[in-house]
Point group: C2
Chain length 232, copies 2
């Protein structure tokens, strides 16, 4: 019978695909890898799972260490475990995708954190299977965002409908009718209209909204239908 002692042991790592939104385009946060092999090549932010932490813990620790941010939206994606994915030694990696408010990160930015934002469509080639991870994460983000109100995680506390609109178009790489989008997003009952207006970028100005946190957290599992002609 199989015994524990006979079984091979592996390294286990986490890798995070960190998405942000600059108001126009979807971006991801990359770092220069600090260890061999492939040192100084661009890579996802990741690290090994320590002895006293779960993979979720490890992902949060890595994010904290590399961006200074805590409590970010983090979701387990899938495990990457092809035997030869790491040339040095067998390493299985748990992929996570994270959504952060790009401005929060920029506020934290200093020399301790040598991460850099790249346009999702204009990013350097990454090491190992990280390119595949990014592709998978993007697909999963699109899937999830079509059903659940998670894209708010990439916007500031105060945001406008047009901002949200562009974000949805970016994530889904498609045009969405302004009027129908507006109707749909407000009909969720998740938005609270503020008195203040955002006057940058237009003469008329667009009203700020904030998220109704109570409803948001109460209904974070609800199936919405946020995309027209919903297909994946």
């Amino acid at each position: 019978m199989i015994e524990y002692s006979r079984q091979p042991h592996y390294l286990v790592a986490v890798d995070c695909i960190v998405f942000g939104f600059d108001g126009e385009h979807l971006k991801i946060l990359l770092v220069k890898r600090g260890l061999e092999p492939e040192i100084n090549k661009w890579s996802l932010m990741g690290g090994f799972v320590g002895a006293n932490e779960s993979p979720d813990d490890a992902a949060n620790r890595v994010l904290k260490k590399m961006t200074g941010l805590e409590g970010v939206y983090l979701e387990q994606m899938q495990i990457y475990g092809e035997p030869d994915r790491d040339p040095i030694e067998r390493t299985l990696s748990v992929g996570y995708f994270a959504l952060i408010d790009i401005h929060k990160y920029e506020a934290q930015l200093n020399d301790d954190y040598e991460a850099e934002w790249f346009l999702i469509n204009d990013r350097p080639k990454l090491i190992f299977d990280h390119n595949q991870m990014v592709a998978d994460a993007r697909k999963k983000l699109r899937y999830k965002a079509a059903l659940h109100p998670i894209l708010f995680e990439m916007l500031p506390k105060k945001f406008t409908i047009p901002q949200l609109h562009i974000l949805f178009e970016e994530v889904n790489d498609t045009k969405i009718d302004t009027r129908n989008f507006s109707r749909k997003i407000t009909s969720t009952g998740l938005l609270i209209k503020l008195a203040e207006k955002d006057r940058t970028g237009s003469k008329k100005g667009a009203f700020y909204f904030k998220l109704d946190k109570k409803k948001y957290h109460a209904n974070s599992q609800a199936f919405l239908n946020l995309m027209p002609n919903l297909k994946v």
Copy 2:
């Protein structure tokens, strides 16, 4: 800088939650654990990830070994990696859920495979965090099945609408209106009506249907809306 050699190494396993349907109720397939600790206790079917296989490979191998079945519907769920989840040695486990036609398995059944079906709602207590895994798998099955036509995987090639209807009710633990269900499921265009009828269980008999494999595989990613009042 962190080096590979300094990092701890762990065992990596897979565990499969195997769902089946006996025509009335949802069931899961359990095995008696063959190694210490907790030997002879009921557990999910699982095994360690070998040196030359991916976790997906391992899950398929385990399923083949314990049921004799190949090519079953298998989907990665999530990783279970709390440091102390295995009392002997740190082991991370990748959870999978599988959908199989219960009759196919019964056909294969012999002494080599000492697995046993249990009603999902009347199952023995399982080892480690396997109870949590079952709960998670059930939730995920419900989620996925509400959007994608995967429950067919638990039915024979020929099946009737009433069979499908009961299966949907079982998975979602709710009553579904027969007429609306029928309309919805046929409007997907995924079903092909056969001339033959199933005469067991009713006087009138119910027409057999089969899956339109072409459309099924072409549209396996399509978002359907298979549950009324869809919530999670």
